[in-house]
């Protein structure tokens, strides 16, 4: 029986956070620290003719000014799509693009200095929608886009024979969906401190989900070897993908500090955060799907135009994910996908919780509901009939191992009393179901190399404290606690012995960070492996002390116990002292590396490959207010296959948080633009769900015990967002009989859909009379 695995554990840094002792980047002050500010572009698309910084430089209290030409090297989170610079070099690409940076003695001086920078622009044609960027354009946003368009990335994939399957299908549906852009809305604004010190070393403190990628990007931009740069991640006030790119403001702080050799802090306000964005891509999706008479999906044909904004960011991955992550948990024999990501003159889009999978998942699950309606199948039965099998391959050669999708559907169905409610609730009151499928870490490395994706170092000295070093970023999701559990379990010790160091590129071995829902699976395995090596040393020490065979010992409750005769036991402390004698501190290393080539041989075969996948099935119950048409989600039954809940408290927290964020996109969140300006760059106008609007959630943890996950665990951070949006849309249909294919599903859209439906009905009635 495990000590800690599977038991609810409070986050090991919880009390620090609740008492205000938690230390975030903006809580830090260094001697002589300056205030950094950024001059932003007022134009959507313009050439920079001239920049004059001399007046700003001469101002009393100004210590450094930087512009784009001083650091023109390109960076970007994906090495295959580097297109960002620290600041605009000769052209600005959106309202809010960084043009210059200033470091001054205080904020007032810095702001005044920004006003003294003279920039002469020549306006260029601007492209604000995907459709503007698809066609031939007079001036491209980036030189490397396709032909004379702003197409950043095209993906075309074709498996099986979609056309033949379409002809043979008993029912076919084809619909268009429209998704808005939304922002992570983490509570801690972006902030950075950079210090170029007397030893010519650059230290950067920043709330990063991926310190390692920032480390690489800083080396590119500063033209400095990585070992001369140190990235430190203090506590992170929420990320959700929005702190996973290397950012221009991080480069600007470093450049300013290098120029004046003083620490520089750049603290963003909320508008700056919205202007930096990297949130969910606005997307237009066209989907065709067919089923046969028995209710099996015969084909899926998907097209997506993805509005990327001004930079590449994770966009190549987003483009693939919109297609390849839409099929699971279903076995679909024929699949075609055509996706295009377009550069537009707006704040860049990037990775946001459920990256690339949320919008096409919505389209897919609503289509299933529509086809079930056409063919008179129960949506739960239909989904059960179409599931992938364990230990199988998808048509695009994803390796499927553990799959708890069946149990997810069965348990959500039973708990929600689906069979008593579906199509049986009174008008205005409805129930809907949807599934989900997500990667549990990307098997493919974005930097082509053979390094492990995660490394953990362990050290135990005579004090009995266990230091765990691993660069997996704790961003509030509880990864430090997870690492501590993975180390404590093999060693049979209490969590308070364990000290996690996961924030410093100088001291902590590389883990490629908190994105793609990879940390529990990969860093958890690395930490466990290191702890198992230390465990060996301790049982050998126990053998040396007791004379009984090392292989008979178990470690539990801070004791090393001889299992065949539990009366024979020594304390963890005594075993440790014996192991340390003549050796010194016990040191061990664990790594995680994805299994060797897992996917197909076609172009893009790596995208979406994961050592394993998570599965979900949610049922949502909704009421639509008869007067205001406001939809209200009453309850969600949320079944999620996380492999094994290492910490059920944290897993439930992830599921509930995902539902909150997903419902925001479903019901109210939207970045609103007018002529390239973001109109709602604040939390008054960019609304998220309040506690009053949050539904009751019945969390159902399904444990499929993945053969390769640590103690069977898979991801729980992103997949649980996917099904909530379509489950609500399907419930609204059940409640009032209208289909919504555009997010957010606001009362005005429901009103419009109801009136369109009535108009169609009247027109039909007239036609019949005539």
């Amino acid at each position: 029986m495990p000590n800690l695995i599977g038991k609810p554990v409070a986050l090991i840094d919880g009390l620090k956070k609740t008492t205000g002792e938690g230390f975030y980047t903006d809580d830090m002050k260094l001697p002589g620290m300056l205030c950094g500010k950024i001059l932003r572009s007022p134009y959507s698309h313009a050439r920079i003719i001239r920049i004059n910084t001399s007046k700003a430089e001469k101002m009393t209290g100004v210590r450094a000014v930087v512009i784009g030409k001083e650091a023109p090297n390109k960076f970007g989170v994906l090495p295959i799509s580097r297109d960002e610079t620290a600041m605009a070099v000769d052209k600005v690409n959106y309202i809010g693009d960084c043009v210059a940076g200033v470091a001054a003695d205080d904020e007032e001086i810095a702001n005044e200095a920004l006003n003294l920078i003279e920039v002469e622009y020549e306006e260029l044609p601007r492209y604000l929608k995907s459709s503007d960027s698809l066609k031939t354009v007079p001036v491209k946003i980036h030189e490397h886009s396709q032909d004379q368009t702003n197409i950043h990335k095209s993906v075309d994939q074709n498996f099986g024979d979609v056309e033949a399957a379409r002809k043979a299908s008993a029912y076919v549906r084809e619909e268009e969906f429209d998704f808005i852009g939304c922002n992570h809305a983490f509570t801690e604004p972006l902030v950075v401190i950079a210090h170029f010190d007397a030893d010519d070393r650059m230290t950067v403190w920043t709330p990063q989900q991926v310190p390692h990628y920032l480390h690489r990007a800083l080396a590119e931009v500063l033209e400095t070897p990585m070992h001369k740069i140190r990235v430190i991640r203090p506590m992170v006030g929420g990320g959700f993908g929005g702190k996973s790119d290397p950012f221009p403001h991080e480069m600007i702080a470093a450049l300013l500090s290098r120029k004046c050799r003083r620490p520089v802090k750049i603290l963003f306000d909320r508008e700056d955060v919205f202007l930096t964005n990297h949130g969910r891509h606005p997307t237009e999706t066209k989907i065709a799907m067919g089923i046969d008479r028995e209710g099996r999906i015969s084909f899926l044909d998907l097209r997506a135009h993805i509005d990327g904004g001004s930079w590449g960011s994770f966009g190549v991955v987003t483009t693939y994910y919109n297609g390849v992550l839409s099929m699971g948990p279903y076995a679909i024999p024929n699949f075609r996908y055509s996706g295009k990501r377009l550069y537009t003159n707006k704040a860049p889009c990037g990775a946001m919780r459920g990256h690339g999978a949320v919008n096409s998942r919505f389209a897919m699950e609503v289509m299933i509901d529509e086809l079930c309606e056409d063919a008179k199948f129960d949506p739960c039965d239909f989904r059960l009939k179409n599931l992938l099998s364990p230990n199988s391959k998808t048509v695009n050669e994803f390796r499927i191992t553990s799959i708890g999708a069946r149990e997810c559907i069965e348990r959500a169905r039973a708990a929600s009393e689906w069979d008593k409610k579906f199509r049986k609730l009174p008008h205005g009151h409805g129930i809907g179901v949807a599934c989900g499928f997500y990667i549990s870490g990307s098997a493919h490395r974005i930097h082509f190399n053979d390094l492990p994706q995660s490394t953990a170092h362990l050290k135990i000295d005579m004090d009995g404290g266990i230091a765990v070093h691993c660069l997996a970023a704790e961003i509030g999701q509880g990864s430090d606690t997870m690492l501590a559990q993975c180390v404590a379990e093999p060693l049979g010790v209490n969590l308070d012995r364990i000290h996690i160091f996961s924030s410093d590129t100088d001291a902590d071995p590389i883990d490629i960070g908190s994105y793609s829902s990879r940390v529990t699976f990969m860093a958890g395995n690395a930490a466990r492996q290191a702890a198992e090596k230390i465990r060996e040393k301790l049982v050998n020490a126990a053998e040396a002390i007791t004379g009984y065979s090392a292989s008979g010992f178990i470690l539990k409750d801070e004791q090393v116990i001889y299992a065949p005769n539990p009366g024979i036991r020594i304390s963890f402390h005594d075993a440790l002292q014996k192991a340390l004698a003549k050796n010194g501190a016990l040191i061990a290393k664990g790594i995680y590396q994805s299994p060797p080539p897992m996917g197909g041989k076609f172009k893009g075969a790596n995208a979406g490959l994961s050592p394993t996948y998570s599965y979900q099935c949610y049922v949502a119950e909704v009421k639509v207010d008869p007067e205001t048409l406001e939809p209200r989600v009453l309850k969600v039954w949320a079944a999620h296959d996380c492999g094994k809940a290492l910490n059920p408290l944290a897993v439930a927290g992830q599921i509930e948080g995902c539902i909150h964020m997903g419902l925001g996109q479903a019901l109210m969140e939207e970045m609103v633009y007018n002529r390239g300006n973001i109109l709602n760059a604040n939390f008054l106008d960019y609304r998220t769900l309040t506690p009053m609007q949050m539904p009751e959630v019945d969390v159902i943890m399904v444990e499929s015990n993945d053969p390769e996950g640590p103690w069977g665990a898979k991801e729980a951070g992103e997949g649980p967002l996917l099904p909530i949006l379509p489950a609500v849309a399907n419930a609204i249909y059940d409640a009032i009989g209208v289909r919504l294919r555009s997010l957010p599903m606001t009362a005005d859209k429901i009103w419009k859909a109801m009136h369109e439906k009535q108009a169609t009905r009247k027109a039909r009635a007239k036609a019949v009379v005539a």
């Binding site: 008492t19 205000g20 509570t187 801690e188 909320r270 439930a652 927290g653 604040n682």
Partner: protein, 165 residues
């Protein structure tokens, strides 16, 4: 042109400080920058996230919307300001601070001090709130991690403890 600073008296966490402020300095800046009480967080600067919630004379207030000068203590009137650091009673961690940690009411933790200040003011004035009353009371605080459920659980658990005693 630098604006002339004035000295005010600010009583924070039972200590009185003499601080030079500009007339337009907000309480949040003075708490964080002058007094280095960084447990009070800055999330939006416009009263929309609640991360900067403190107590002023026992009531939960948004320190980003209060001028520091408004909170000054004079010979006639003393305003008592409490921040998250002052919630500990003689070194004993407040029950809400334990409950938020134990119930999973804090993930990234950035909003947590604000929630705890709001919740402690609620329980002080209204020790037996219903679940709906708790939700209403914390509606001005924003959390992006938890979906609020475990925050309400944490507050409710402390309210239940109070009711037992």
């Amino acid at each position: 042109m630098a604006v002339k600073k004035q000295i005010i008296k600010l009583k924070v966490n039972s200590s009185t400080h003499e601080i030079a402020i500009r007339p337009y300095d907000v309480l949040l800046d003075v708490i964080r920058e002058s007094l280095n009480l960084t447990g009070t967080k800055r999330g939006c600067d416009m009263g929309t996230c609640g991360c900067c919630t403190v107590h002023i004379d026992g009531r939960a207030r948004l320190s980003c919307l209060m001028l520091a000068a408004e909170c000054a203590s004079t010979d006639k009137l003393t305003h008592g300001i409490t921040t998250i650091e002052g919630l500990k009673d003689h070194g004993v961690i407040h029950p809400l601070q334990r409950a938020f940690a134990e119930h999973g009411g804090s993930q990234c933790g950035f909003c947590t001090p604000g929630f705890i200040m709001t919740a402690s003011a609620l329980l002080h004035s209204h020790p037996k709130p219903t679940r709906d009353e708790i939700k209403e009371a914390i509606s001005g605080n924003m959390c992006r991690c938890t979906g609020y459920i475990k925050i309400v659980d944490a507050i409710e658990s402390v309210a239940n403890e109070y009711q037992k005693t």
